[in-house]
């Protein structure tokens, strides 16, 4: 590890992995810093009660329990300290690859209207709904590049924006759930298609197709057929010779010089076993620790020139925290719909993402990944079935393979009061004030969630369910594994944290390249948009350095 780099990238997940790859290929000297571990499949426990999706007693891909947060209903009210696996923490995995190591890997593009929510719907009172400063057309080439470079299997949805290229891999063969839901959708007149996945359906990039184990969500992949940054872009970054990966190292602050310009980071590193505190210099710093940690780091990097933290002159850093409420329903069928082959999630409709009378936005609806039996027990039971005795046992035995769930991410209507701030009382063991999470999504989101629940009921009923149940979600703070919004991009420094290329306003050399820059978060899993946006931003940063030819691929045709 040398003491000075062209670019330091903080966080090796979706955005950080892309940034490190783009910049290394451009020839810049990149230091990629990750607080978690580099984990192979064998290093990610397969415990059904301790994983990133069902963390009943713990989890399996970081961070460790030194990384507490505080949750509070009011920003300046009493708070409760929580551990990473506990409810309300809003965790995303901390490991090389970040969330992309253990995600379910749904690979959705946003739709064109997702980038102009305010123009399309108006702004609900009290919300911070706003348009992005860029649109689908600007991002399309990058969506396409990521799909080709990382590997996405899917088929085109007729309501989505135009695309240059088809998916590099076709979807899995239709499973029983898809067949039943597709027939129902045809009767209802709803357009449907496969769920796009960052999962191989054939050998791709030298790695095998998915092994169909059905443990995608919350676990690493046993056959390495699931595509994350850790097994696609990061190895390429490292093979350029320009990228150094530094794991088990926490960035404790962004450092500025006597003029207030960003000049590097301070770290606490356990990479070699014994802890080391040091400063590392760089010409530019890219934050990609996820919406919550990137905002926290900006806020915590206070100095005489930046008393409110970096990029925070207008008290915007940390606000508009978003993720997704999930809304849907369950249906019991009179035949087995479970063929035991993962991922299980196989069909979706985007009919209700937009154009719903009297509703702001909407969301995607899809069937679900194969549930772990423990997940099924905790979440999939009808409310009127006993949880003990022969009736409960018989329900599991007879119906584990006969219950289908249809649900999806509801497009958050953001609130400026859903926010990340610094806790005034608690400092982590590395010396940085911990993140405090407070507020909720805007109440209008719950109206949308109720609408989506009703559509799920409609779909399952049309599919022939003998019994349908489920409740729409109540008002709560969103974030979690879809966290976004805390450093929103925009042209106007008074109403945004970064410019349209992720550059923090007021700085030449400080960037955010994770979900924090999302103005709104779509009615879809956000990772493909995080990847595409980061690629576009990193390419722009690379151009700033006047390095070698661009990484943008030639247009197809």
């Amino acid at each position: 590890m040398v003491k000075s780099y062209d670019v330091i990238v903080v966080g090796s997940g979706a955005g950080g992995g892309v940034a490190a790859w783009v910049l290394s290929v451009e020839g810049l000297r990149v230091l990629l810093i990750e607080r978690g571990w580099q984990r192979t499949y064998a290093d990610v426990p397969v415990d059904h009660l301790r994983n990133e999706r069902l963390p009943v007693y713990g989890h399996n891909a970081g961070p460790d329990d030194r990384h507490v947060r505080v949750i509070a209903s009011k920003v300046d009210g009493p708070g409760t300290s929580v551990l990473p696996h506990q409810p309300g923490y809003h965790n995303n995995a901390a490991a090389v690859g970040g969330g992309t190591l253990v995600y379910g890997a749904q690979a959705w593009r946003f739709m064109p209207q997702d980038f102009r929510m305010a123009t399309t719907y108006g702004v609900p009172a009290g919300s911070s709904l706003a348009d992005w400063p860029i649109g689908y057309d600007e991002l399309e080439p990058y969506y396409s590049s990521i799909e080709q470079e990382m590997g996405v299997s899917g088929e085109v949805h007729e309501l989505h924006g135009e695309r240059q290229r088809s998916y590099p891999m076709s979807p899995f063969e239709p499973n029983p759930q898809r067949k039943v839901l597709e027939a129902a959708a045809r009767r209802l007149g709803w357009p449907v298609a496969a769920v796009p996945l960052l999962i191989n359906t054939r050998t791709f990039n030298g790695r095998p197709a998915c092994g169909r184990c059905g443990m995608c969500v919350g676990f690493a992949c046993p056959t390495d057929g699931k595509n994350g940054t850790q097994n696609t872009l990061l190895p390429r970054a490292l093979s350029t010779g320009h990228c150094t990966l530094l794991t088990r190292t926490v960035v404790t602050g962004i450092e500025t010089d006597a003029r207030g310009d960003v000049c590097g980071v301070s770290v606490y590193s356990e990479r070699t076993g014994s802890p080391i505190r040091t400063s590392i210099k760089a010409s530019a710093v890219v934050l990609a620790g996820g919406a919550i940690e990137s905002a926290r780091l900006l806020l915590a990097s206070r100095s005489k020139h930046h008393p409110l933290g970096l990029g925070n002159r207008f008290d915007l850093v940390g606000r508009n925290l978003q993720g997704h409420c999930y809304s849907g329903a369950f249906g019991l069928f009179s035949e087995d719909l479970h063929d035991g082959l993962g991922p299980g999630v196989s069909i979706a409709t985007c009919k209700f993402n937009h154009g719903n009378d009297g509703i702001v936005g909407g969301g995607m609806l899809a069937n679900e990944f194969i549930p772990l039996p423990s997940t099924f027990w905790h979440r999939n039971f009808p409310p009127d079935v006993s949880r003990w005795g022969e009736p409960a046992k018989r329900f599991m035995r007879d119906n584990y393979r006969r219950v289908m769930q249809v649900h999806g991410p509801v497009h958050d209507i953001p609130s400026p009061d859903a926010r990340v701030t610094l806790d005034p009382n608690i400092v982590d063991p590395f010396g940085t004030p911990v993140a405090r999470l407070s507020g909720t999504t805007h109440p209008a989101t719950i109206d949308v969630a109720r609408f989506m629940h009703e559509r799920a009921v409609e779909w399952l009923t049309a599919a022939g369910a003998v019994k349908v149940w489920g409740q729409p979600p109540g008002l709560h703070l969103t974030g979690g594994q879809h966290q976004a919004g805390t450093c929103r991009m925009g042209a106007d420094p008074q109403t945004s944290v970064t410019d349209p290329f992720g550059r923090v306003h007021g700085h030449d050399n400080l960037f955010v390249m994770d979900g924090g820059v999302h103005v709104t978060n779509g009615g879809f899993n956000p990772v493909l948009t995080i990847l595409a946006t980061a690629m576009r931003s990193a390419e722009h940063l690379g151009e700033q350095f006047n390095a070698r030819p661009k990484t943008r691929p030639a247009r197809a045709g």
Binding site: A42, D47, W388, R401
Partner: protein
């Protein structure tokens, strides 16, 4: 909370209430043509977490078990000695909130906690100590395929 049950017990499986817990588990998931909860080792999972990550729950569970036993006397004996139909009657009373005593949480919530603990030990992965021989998974037709090679 009950005065005699206040201390955290680092070894719940050695407590006088443990046989009662096992008997309750075996009514929550009874033996039929498939194993019962304890046949499948769900009590081993419970012993693990109640002496570790969920040790803070043991006093509540232990108090409830003791109160269950007190109520059982009126039906003819301690819980473990009653016929299954009487045991089920007591659990139904718990479900309906009709068990006497100074319950630290409502009896229905206590019962639900016991149900979740039992089910976790029956349907969780074998690494948790329960689901011996994947009995729970075979019953419901779940097979993780290549994802199951580490158990």
């Amino acid at each position: 909370m009950g005065s005699t049950m206040a201390k955290l017990n680092p070894n719940p499986a050695a407590s006088p209430q443990w046989p009662t817990l096992r008997a309750v588990f075996d009514r929550i998931i009874p033996r039929d043509e498939h194993p019962s909860a304890c046949d499948a080792g769900a009590d081993r999972h419970a012993a693990n977490v109640l002496s570790g990550e969920a040790a803070d729950r043991w006093p509540t569970i232990q108090t409830g078990l003791a109160l269950l036993d007190e109520a059982a006397i009126s039906l003819g004996g301690v819980f473990v000695n009653l016929p299954e139909s009487s045991q089920d009657r007591l659990l139904t009373m718990a479900e309906n909130g009709n068990l006497p005593g100074n319950w630290p949480i409502p009896p229905s919530r206590w019962l639900r906690m016991m149900c979740d603990l039992t089910a976790e030990g029956y349907f969780g992965d074998p690494g948790t100590g329960g689901n011996i021989d994947r009995a729970g998974w075979r019953m419901i037709g779940y097979d993780p395929g290549v994802g199951g090679s580490r158990w």
